[in-house]
Amino acid sequence: MKVGVVIFPGSNCDADCLYVLKDVLGQDAVSLWHQDTALRGCDAIVLPGGFSYGDYLRTGAVARLSPIMGAVRRFASGGGLVLGICNGFQILLESGLLPGAILRNTGLRFICRFVTLRVERTDTPFTNRFKPGQVIRMPIAHNEGRYTAEAKTIRQIQPQVAFRYCGPDGQVGDAFNPNGSVEAIAGLTNAAGNVLGLMPHPERSSEAALGSEDGRLIFESMIESLAHA
């Protein structure tokens, strides 16, 4: 699998994603510059976390105007795999590649810690290595992670929800919702299932040395689905 990791000015998890893809998983991975207009033959694209354009105005609002996003949009509409992590998720929402929007955490604070997530779908190219309902651990690190959408949209996207914040036994409730996301949504795909955005950081939970290897299954799922494509 050849993966392109897009660097926007202000991205800060690009190197971490490249490290997991190359050094941990042994994949071919390249960095793509926000001003590029071509994806250099990549099989999958990662929009990494960070503070693109300082998160000024709104998170992801300026990054989505980058030249590369045109190519990413075309790639996605052709069925290509696009993974947006944290700020990358926010860029996907601003781009309209995923429905909804992100607001500030209800607690009004930046939160960096491990959370537990329930895997809602295992039939996507990003989640096929998980077991249905599996409870996994991944860290979050964001000030703006409260997912929201209009009520009608929320009803429509139920089948697209890939991860929800949950308790240790998979239970969903306010006590386990770190940022106030609607219906505890932590990550979702587009209708076609080839674009995934999530607030938690799989690249920070892909090695035992970092306390969890659950995030690696997302990357491994992508590898697997591309191998069978």
Partner: protein
């Protein structure tokens, strides 16, 4: 005054029309060719400006003598900031010179560059430094702390190092107090806003609370960067004629006179100083990090320095001085954000996210393009000269022309008067007999672990991104020091900050020793071999002989400990004038220490792991309650002498710990500091939120220095040189044997397990109760 001006005229290298590669106007009439700094300002105005920079009449006369004429207003400003306490260390230098700075591991010693550099072996090195941003944070906590983070990060990447970690040493008044709470929340938000956005993890540090810091909080930020030992970037000017580039954000009137602002006491009117605080832009800084590291990698950058305090002034004069050369710049070429800025404004502005580069003569276009790719401007504003002068022009007009040596080394040095403060005799006397011994020692433990200084700090560090860069292998709050893996190497980097203001208040000499000893103990608790320190010395007004005595004693203590541990001082920062209307703060040195973990076993954390493991205490317990958290929290006393510092015993303890950790014997290790042995045991039980463990220990087994030690001192006293650890029973014997062989008192106290922490015969508390108290203390 033609005779006075003549020498200046002669030294002025006339070929200034070359610089920038652009032809300048040809008004080279004999008159304008003079282009000498001509002071048109009235003497009264100059005096007033001098006064606003806290320059005394005597110092002002010295400036006139150095120049051989009346200074321009720009020159007064330049001297004002360069000769300020903040930049010239005029009160502290005589003492700082006594620090040990050499060692095999030191690649760049203190004071030579923007930060010290220490060898990690295998071609890797670390640049690290700590700096204070106390005064700006007192006035505007969010921006004050944020720009503190930005400044220290720039000091690190200008060394060619990628910043990999931040640690913050913070001191506030009691969090129940509204103003202290406001400052605490603002400072933490500022650190988070900036550090999180630039993508440098905030992995550790320490926080303590004491009334003394209520109006003058301490915000000391340490940054660590990783670099290849062969590619250390330098901050010296080289090559006459080489272009001087201004890089980064535009210059505004931010923090005008900030460096001198920091050299004044906070008075009741400080809120009116608000505009003197700078605004940080972490987005610009993130781009600056990437672009600068790329630029340095090209090999075309000859010298580089951050524009920190007093921005252009310090960077130009210091780089020129280090290279033994001169620099000439034209302020009209400096990118500006506001109209109508004078040369004085431009030279003194503290706008953030700016750097000064000296590049190879033919590299300007390539370097400019490289920065443009990161949407940053890089503009040639001048060139290196051979005449040893800092010359500032505004177009054709020379507005400052000063020998750089006079600026950087000519600052007045003071051997300020010192006097042992009279309060010491009073506070050092602790009539222990009159300190009642509480009956409910379990209750004391619950109160102590819920006290803000000891309580769980996760409400703070969860606001920091401590995981970005994916090297934080020990999460904050899980061990005595932060531990980072070095990707691709079988070694880990450990770092900590420590320093007790209370101990130093009671005895600055011993307090200084203890600060270094605790830092080292924290490192060995994760299994790291201490390498070197950086220090941030926070004191009151140096013109007060009592304060200067505290400073002198504290520096002596730190220096001795560093010599004993072979951990040289690689740099740091002095912050004076930490005062409030009621007096000076507790003298507070903050020691930032780094170390390296080698071998297969990896880092050791502080929490008990498995049922049945043996609990061991290393070190001896004395009847030492002076300056303890117990005395302060339970009895409301800030009294006594601090615990004894036995540097030789500490050193042996350190070596024993490193050896035991490397052998893989240790399951956990935790230093006994605030709250003593009982708190160390309790914390080892509850620090891991996913896996609390009980413990049963027997009080009579604790190695004592005397036949009898009163129970409260035994449990909560803060005798130095003690560590609580746990190990599999299998390793107990070799561990005790080794301790015995090297002469470290050691005893098995009991075992890990059960739902309670029992310290027979005094304490029996459910672990859950302790955990709850500890976790709710700061929220």
């Amino acid at each position: 005054m033609p005779d006075l001006l003549a020498p200046t005229q002669r030294k002025f290298g006339v070929r200034s029309s070359e610089f920038g590669g652009r032809k300048r106007s040809k008004r080279s009439t004999p008159h304008s060719a003079l282009r000498i700094p001509h002071s048109t300002e009235s003497p009264e105005l100059l005096r007033r400006v001098a006064k606003s920079h806290n320059l005394t009449d005597e110092t002002y006369a010295r400036i006139v003598k150095v120049l051989g004429r009346q200074p321009t207003i720009t020159e007064v400003g330049i001297f004002g900031v360069e000769w300020s306490e903040h930049c010239s260390y005029c009160s502290s230098k005589v003492y700082l010179k006594t620090f040990p700075t050499k060692g095999r591991q030191v690649l760049v010693p203190a004071g030579k560059e923007n930060a010290g550099v220490v060898d990690l072996g295998e071609g890797q090195a670390v640049a690290f430094k700590i700096e204070s941003h106390n005064h700006p944070s007192a006035v505007e906590p969010v921006q004050g702390a944020a720009t503190g983070v930005g400044g220290i990060i720039r000091d690190i990447f200008t060394m060619g190092a990628r910043p990999i970690a931040l640690l913050d040493a913070l001191r506030f008044g009691p969090p129940q107090d509204r103003r202290s709470r406001f400052l605490l929340e603002g400072v933490v938000k500022g650190i988070a806003d900036y550090g999180n956005a630039v993508g440098v993890p905030t992995v550790g540090g320490d926080i303590a609370f004491d009334q003394t810091y209520r109006d003058n909080p301490l915000v000391n930020v340490m940054c660590i960067g990783l670099l290849a030992s062969r590619t250390i970037a330098r901050a010296a000017a080289r090559g006459v004629g080489n272009p001087v580039l201004y890089v980064g954000s535009s210059t505004g009137r931010d923090g005008l006179g900030g460096a001198s602002f920091a050299s004044r006491e906070l008075s009741e009117g400080s809120d009116a100083d608000r505009p003197a605080v700078q605004i940080g832009d972490p987005f610009a800084e993130k781009c600056l990090i990437e672009a600068t590291l790329e630029a340095l990698a090209t090999g075309e950058v000859i010298g580089i320095q951050d524009m920190g305090a007093a921005g252009l002034t310090c960077s130009t004069s210091e780089m020129a001085a280090r290279g033994g050369l001169g620099i000439e710049i034209d302020v009209l070429r400096v990118p500006r954000r506001e109209a109508g800025m004078t040369p004085y404004d431009i030279m003194l502005s503290e706008s953030q996210e700016r750097m000064l580069l000296i590049v190879k003569r033919d590299a300007v276009t390539r370097i400019t393009r490289l920065f443009a790719r990161w949407r940053l401007q890089a503009v040639q504003i001048g060139r290196v000269t051979g005449d040893g002068r800092l010359r500032v022009r505004e177009g054709e007009q020379v507005v400052a022309d000063i020998p750089v040596g006079a600026l950087t080394d000519g600052a007045p040095m003071y051997q300020r008067p010192v006097r042992r403060p009279s309060y010491l005799a009073k506070v050092q006397h602790l009539p222990l007999a009159r300190v009642p011994q509480p009956k409910d020692l379990g209750g004391v433990l619950r109160r102590l672990i819920a006290s803000p200084t000891i309580a769980n700090k996760s409400p703070v560090f969860e606001q920091y991104d401590h995981m970005v860069q994916t090297s934080t292998v020990v999460l904050p709050g899980r061990a005595d020091a932060a531990v980072l893996r070095l990707k691709g190497a079988a070694r880990w980097l450990a770092a900590t900050t420590d320093g007790s203001g209370r101990f130093c208040y009671l005895d600055p000499y011993v307090g200084g020793q203890l600060a270094v000893a605790e830092a080292a103990r924290n490192l060995v608790c994760v299994g790291a071999r201490p390498l070197a320190i950086t220090d941030c010395l926070n004191f009151g007004n140096p013109e007060d002989p009592h304060i200067m005595w505290q400073f002198k004693e504290c520096v002596r203590g730190i220096g001795e400990a560093c010599r004993a541990f072979e951990t040289p001082v690689t740099g740091g920062n002095v912050s004076f004038y930490n005062e409030h209307p009621g007096g000076a703060i507790n003298p507070t040195p903050v020691i930032g220490m780094i170390g390296v973990i080698e071998g297969e076993s990896g880092p050791v954390t502080a929490s008990f792991k498995d049922e049945g493991d043996a609990i061991v205490v290393l070190g001896q317990t004395r009847e030492e309650l002076g300056g303890s958290e117990y005395l302060a929290v339970i009895h409301g006393r800030k009294q006594g002498v601090p615990p004894r510092a036995d540097l030789r015993a500490e050193r042996v303890l350190q070596q024993l710990m490193v050896q035991a950790a490397r052998a893989g014997w240790l399951k956990s290790a935790h230093d006994c500091s605030e709250g003593g042995l009982a708190v160390a045991l309790a914390e080892s039980c509850i620090m891991d939120p996913d896996r609390a463990r009980g413990a049963a220990v027997i009080g009579s087994r604790i190695p004592l220095a005397a036949a009898r030690v009163r129970p409260d001192a035994l449990l909560f006293g803060e005798s130095a040189g003690r560590i609580v650890l746990s190990c599999a029973r299998f390793y107990l014997e070799p561990l005790l044997e080794l301790a015995n062989r090297v002469g470290v008192p050691a005893a098995e106290l009991g075992r890990v397990g059960g739902p309670r922490l029992t310290i027979t015969p005094w304490i029996e508390e459910p672990v859950e109760t302790l955990s709850e108290a500890w976790r709710s203390g700061l929220s």
